[in-house]
């Protein structure tokens, strides 16, 4: 491959970069709040809810994200096929029938659902660790000052948890940048899929390297951002 070919590859990948970034951004924005909810469910005093949450976390962390993507993506077509066979005719199957699985939007939503379910499980464990690392003395001091449970959590505990979970969260976000490449498994048009296709066109491995450079630059930016955030929280120990 000559320089012009590489430039051409880079330009094509650049066209599909927004797809990669869209998946990254939606996953990040949704999985953090979902992770908070999962933490809360796991710490729920009503045991069955806590057990179910544990099971969910176990499955999400215990199986490959790639399998989860495939499972979520094919779940609806399979349910539809099952419905046709059994001749069921209720509102649920009517609703399923309206979904067009070849639609770009459907594919993207399935991906975001799979990514968010998976990442929320990891984030939940990070947040739980953060909450449990706050010394009991902080709760005792808050109660001594007459603060309510809500005040204690939002004004005393949470700000300290945020600082403590930043390093682990930055790890997770860096992995997420790279994990977006798994979306190629259902032929979502992101940069890994495109570079694989160009590898065939050019009979060369260079397009993969170009994709690698794209991921590397994205993660360099993520790293710099987290260094900045960590610094922001450095005003106390």
């Amino acid at each position: 491959m000559n320089f012009d070919d590489i430039k051409n590859v880079a330009e094509i990948l650049l066209q599909y970069l927004p797809n990669t970034l869209k998946l990254f951004a939606w996953t990040l924005v949704l999985s953090i709040p979902v992770g908070v909810i999962v933490t809360w469910l796991k710490k729920c005093r009503f045991k069955p809810i806590s057990w179910l949450t544990n099971l969910y976390i176990l499955i999400m962390r215990g199986t490959p994200l790639m399998l989860q993507i495939i499972a979520v993506y094919y779940a609806i077509p399979m349910l539809m096929a099952g419905a046709r066979k059994s001749g069921a005719d209720n509102w649920f199957y009517t609703l399923l029938g309206k979904i067009n699985t070849r639609d770009e939007n459907y594919m993207f939503i399935a991906l975001v659902v799979a990514f968010v379910l998976n990442y929320a499980a990891y984030f939940a464990e990070i947040f739980r660790g953060g909450i449990e690392s706050i010394p009991v003395g902080q709760y005792e001091a808050s109660s001594m000052l007459g603060m309510t449970k809500m005040q204690t959590f939002f004004r005393i505990i949470l700000p300290q948890v945020v600082k403590r979970v930043i390093p682990a969260t930055s790890n997770e976000v860096i992995v997420l940048v790279k994990d977006t490449s798994l979306a190629n498994v259902i032929a979502f048009a992101e940069i890994t899929l495109k570079s694989k296709q160009m590898m065939n066109t050019y009979s060369s491995i260079v397009p993969l390297f170009v994709a690698g450079v794209f991921y590397f630059i994205m993660n360099a930016i993520v790293t710099v951002a987290f260094v900045y955030i960590e610094k922001k929280f450095n005003y106390y120990k």
């Binding site: 001091a141 001594m144 000052l145 007459g146 600082k163 106390y236 120990k237």
Partner: protein, 252 residues
Amino acid sequence: MAILEVKNLSKTFGDLKVLKDISFNVEQGQVVAIIGPSGSGKSTLFRCINMLERADSGEITVSGLKMMTTEKNKAVFAPSKILRQIRLKIGLVFQNFNLFPHMSVMQNIIEAPTHVLKQSKKEAKANAEKLLEKMGLEEKAKSYPCELSGGQQQRVSIARALALNPEILFFDEPTSALDPELTGEILKVIKELAKEKMTMVIVTHEMAFAREVANHVIFMDGGYIVEEGDPEELFGNTQNERTKQFLQRYNN
């Protein structure tokens, strides 16, 4: 008037009876030191009175408000509204300070006045400045706890407790996390407060400290109050064998 009345207080952890029938009073303006060996129950007593632990039976009354009573051998606690009122009458200074690390000294002190007592920020700040001056920390208002020495942190935590205007102030081994040289700082502050007739209860391991600051001493051992009285009497001339033995070990 007794600010704190404790009657027949008992507490068991599993099979272990930690407090056995403890009764004592603390009068307005008194400085009471609670001493005793490790495992004597003094920390548990302290935690029960400060609602960090729930006693099994007995009675606790704080300036006329009943925190707990016992009916048919079962502890009955006051409704949470009353408990909250009592909470605000009691100030607490912890052994390891438990300051809020993410807040400056000033924020630490005004947090509860503004969010619990709903004072205006201006009012709370003015009050906090007075307290900091009293603690000799007027220049540290903008510092964070991690930038202060242990003695300074302990004085901030005293100011934080005083900001709620408590009627009685409790100290849980206030000097045991400190360098012996820094103990003097805290001693000075407590003496200052004693002059202003602040009612205080101090759990401590340091006999010299207790002797110097307290005007009433309670000696606990094995879950009982073995002896209580005037510090000069108790430290200098006790007739009780157990107290003698304990003090002797300390003096050696």
